[in-house]
Amino acid sequence: MAERHNTVIAYQPSRAPALAALAFLGLALTAGFLPVLAMGIRQGLAGLDPYILRVLSFTLLQAGLSTALSLAIGLPLARALARRRVFPGRFLLLRLLNLPLALPSIVVIIGLVEVYGAGGWLGGLFALYGLQGILLAHVFFNVPLAARLVLADLERIPEENWKLAAQLGLGPWALWRIVEWPRVRGGMASAALLIFLLCASSFAVVLTLGGGPRATTLEVAIYQSLRADFDPQRAAMLALVQFALCAVLALLAQRWGGLVPDVPMLRASARRFDGRSGAARVLDAGLILLVLLLLLPPLLALAASGLQHIALTAPLLRAMLTSLLLGAASAGLAFLLVWPLAMLAVRGALWRRVAALAVLASWIVPPAALATGWFISLIAYAGPLWLSALLVIAMNAMMALPFVARVLMPALGRSAEVHDRLCLGLGIGGWNRLRVVEFPAVRRAAGLALVMALILSLGDLTAISLFGTQDFVTLPALIYRQMGSYRFDDAVGTALVLGLVVLALSALAERWGET
């Protein structure tokens, strides 16, 4: 009944572009999945050889450990930040927590190698190549993510609860059990699944820090089967396993409420009255220090060493141009796919479900697994540069889709709420409506969505590794190549350039995101 009541407003945007977007997504997903499924079925269970099982168990092992470590540090960190509302540098620390996820993984990896690699500041502290290195990198990315997600939940606790707790004299344990845990457990479960999913399909980290066949994951094994061993059969089997794994995780995550992270705003949180004891202060300061020690050295090392080795050579400029062109195209495509779906989704329950499904599908589908299907479908046509470019653009657009939807959907929803009846009354519709009403109203959100999609695509190493060629090189691919050919100094310089471009874009996005 409630739904029927909501759709009384009868403005209906055109369905044709939305159907075209759905057709594109349907085609991309079927072309990715069906060939893999067909090949997998032909091989049957025999295809699940010990190698694949070993890769699967390593994938699960490293993702499980990464998730556990990230939460074990991220959760207490969030609590420390929540109960220390005022300390020098808190604002900067919160900004610092945004960095790892904004920076391309390959850039962060370069920073980690600078610090923990042979001859690095802390060389020898960790065995960087292998499980330890993979965990270190994943913890670097996901402690901030976990902390931000949990902090957002903690900051939503109303001030009265803290006052009540102070008045009732709840100690730290009772406070956690009665006030905090009930508020964070839902978010924690979905954060855990999200981090597990990110780590289970992590590509750049495992490609660069994994130690050959012993420490490899499904995504990287797929890449090696396709590009190094040219073994599509094995790639298909790996892809099928990866599809199944991600589907299970996504279903679990949906039950726990959403996968795409909710980015908490920097705002004044409620005043708390706990954590005044000396022990609590020492504990929180120690945690904050630990996280600074985790995050700062790689970033500082990257900046310090990168500045010495920055060189705007022709290959770098060429790669930058390629990256920007591909990124712009991917962002544009993601935008064109989301917009028509979002316009309908904010006005009707059926389309809302369709759009949610499309977003979920593009979010969970592991890129390398999807690429396997495309690879097999297009084997006969392999070669031309434009085809490689199109595949990279399509894949990056799909990866960006959930983020674009997350920004665009609420903005279009607000616009619909405010403008629909007015426009119906004035007879403004079709193109005029877009030009006069929608575009100006959602300008900032659209800009933010485009920049976010561009940033994601600039950092991509998966699609370009799978479809790139000797002459078709983006900045992340160039960094990886420089790393691989013992020109680490060049790699550091390139990484700094890429990092700075992305940071500049994030700063822009943040300004647009503020209002």
Binding site: P158, E160, N161, K163, L164, A166, Q167, L168, I178, F273
Partner: protein, 239 residues
């Protein structure tokens, strides 16, 4: 027990506040006045949620200014969020006795008695989400009763309720206050709440308690600066 504010100073943004007043022991004092004048701050200072710049809070002549909130002989009820949504009504009340929710039989008995006292005896197993707004505030009152602290502060506790329900809640509160000899201080935006339930009423404006008198006297007064402007026509239409 009397509640005395001795030149209690506080600063919020650009506003300097100084509270100096004696709230009568065993009285029910309503606090009225314009928004942003410091009414909630006054309660927060007494409860220990704010730290004053200077001055003292004296309860029964004991200086409690330096005590943390849970060691003051004070309970406070807010407009919203007085209950934890994942705990049952009974557990929410039991929190007033034991933060670990482990009660001796005699304590459990007190919880049941308080629930019956506020008319919630049939709803003890419910979660707050299944209660009405008025019932949720009754849970808060029941918890204040089991805590058994002599001073009870209320910050617009019934602002979200309709007129009839508000009147019921005020009657309940007044009955408990008299039965137990509580010293009650209640911030309200409704002058009629003060007239209905309060023995005394304080007029607070711009960080000062301008007057604190028996309720009938205050509303009849013509010598309280700002009061006439605050009440406007209200006095003529109601009184």
């Amino acid at each position: 027990m009397s509640l005395r504010l001795d030149h209690l100073a506080f600063r919020y943004e650009a506003m300097d506040m100084i509270f100096d007043a004696v709230f009568p022991a065993g009285g029910f004092t309503a606090v009225i006045g314009p928004s942003g004048g410091g009414k909630s701050t006054l309660l927060n200072l007494v409860a220990g949620f704010e730290t004053p710049l200077a001055g003292r809070v004296l309860i029964d002549d004991a200086d409690v200014t330096a005590l943390p909130p849970d060691r003051r002989p004070v309970s406070m009820i807010f407009q919203d969020n007085n209950v934890f949504a994942h705990l049952s009504v009974r557990q929410n009340v039991a929190l007033g006795i034991s933060p670990a929710l482990r009660l001796e039989p005699a304590q459990a008995q007190r919880v049941e008695a308080a629930l019956a006292d506020v008319g919630l005896d049939g709803l003890a197993h419910r979660k707050p989400g299944e209660l009405s707004g008025g019932e949720r505030q009754r849970v808060a009152v029941a918890r204040a009763l089991v805590r058994d602290r002599p001073v009870l502060l209320l910050d617009e506790p019934f602002a979200a309720l309709g007129p009839a329900l508000r009147r019921d809640m005020l009657d309940l509160l007044r009955a408990k206050q008299q039965a137990r000899g509580l010293t009650v201080v209640m911030v309200t935006h409704q002058p009629e709440d003060a007239i209905h339930a309060a023995s005394h009423t304080a007029y607070l404006e711009a960080g000062r308690i301008v007057a604190l008198r028996p309720t009938a006297d205050l509303f009849a007064a013509t010598d309280v600066p700002g009061l006439a402007a605050y009440l406007g026509d209200w006095r003529n239409t109601v009184l």
